[in-house]
């Protein structure tokens, strides 16, 4: 255990550490996606999962292909697409709330009033 700490603090941060952080974030998102009923909480979980994927792109780019920029641009476009997706999803959620006064997934069994 002591060796582990000395290694960690004297070498550069290993790639596994970054991947472990994004792994925890991703599976927290999976748990929230499966266990919550509110549409907004499901959207929060989706944001967590997308962020974990973004971290993975950037880390693989930095550690494995430091001279190239593919992971960087993938992350840039993923952030833009995530922003689009959130905007449309929140518009849909507000519309659902206006029609049904509820945002629970169990009560949404028809799309048209």
């Amino acid at each position: 255990m002591g060796d582990l700490f000395i290694n960690f603090f004297s070498n550069p941060v290993p790639m596994e550490a970054y991947l472990g952080v994004s792994l925890i974030m991703f599976f927290a998102g999976v748990y929230g996606f499966l266990s919550r009923k509110s549409l907004l909480m499901i959207l929060v979980s989706i944001e967590l999962m997308l962020n974990a994927a973004d971290i993975n792109f950037v880390v693989f780019n930095r550690y494995l292909y430091p001279g190239q920029m593919e992971g960087f641009f993938f992350t840039l476009f993923a952030i833009a697409i995530a922003a689009c997706e959130t905007a449309v999803a929140i518009a849909i959620i507000i519309n659902i709330y206006r029609n049904l006064t509820s945002v629970e997934v169990g009560e949404l069994d028809e799309m048209k009033e």
Binding site: L23, V30, Y31, L48, I79
Partner: protein, 167 residues
């Protein structure tokens, strides 16, 4: 040394707040925890040397997306109401699923990833290179996805207005 300590603080912050964000009872609190997770992610980008992504993450996620979330929560949530969760057996099944996935991927990462890479080059990315790569049409350049993103943003704005307008 300082880099490792900063990484440790950011990693602990991200792990704790992302678990809190999906287990919290109040939805506004979980949105706040999500904001901390996004800021920690921005810190990781800065630590990896991607300064432009740091700025984009702060501006788009911590700025725009979080404002959308806060507005949506305040518009759709009755005050003082807890978040509804699924039935208990489904929650247990979700926990088992995510723990199993965590164990599986963690096993793969722990035993295999350290054989893949050799060195770290924390080189600074010049903003000029980013601009030229984003605007070029050669191989490994990204003008076409950039234009697709702009069309997607336009479609998204029109769609959001169409969906959310009052009839």
């Amino acid at each position: 040394m300082a880099q490792q300590i900063i990484f440790f603080i950011l990693a602990a912050m991200i792990a704790v707040f992302s678990v809190l964000a999906v287990t919290s009872k109040r939805i506004i609190r979980s949105a706040t925890y999500l904001l901390f997770v996004l800021l920690g992610t921005a810190g990781l980008y800065l630590l990896l040397g991607y300064h432009y992504l740091f700025a984009v993450q702060i501006a788009v996620y911590a700025g725009g997306v979080m404002v959308l979330f806060i507005f949506a929560i305040l518009l759709t949530n009755r005050p003082g109401e807890n978040v509804k969760t699924e039935r208990k057996d489904r929650r247990i099944a979700a926990g088992i699923t995510s723990l199993a996935g965590l164990a599986f991927c963690g096993h793969i990462i722990y035993w295999n990833v350290n054989k893949m890479y050799t060195l770290v080059v924390p080189a600074e990315q010049k903003i000029q290179d980013i601009g030229l790569t984003l605007m070029g049409t050669d191989k490994y350049q990204y003008l076409l996805p950039f234009e697709f993103i702009s069309v997607l943003l336009l479609a998204c704005i029109v769609g959001a207005i169409m969906i959310a307008r009052k009839r």
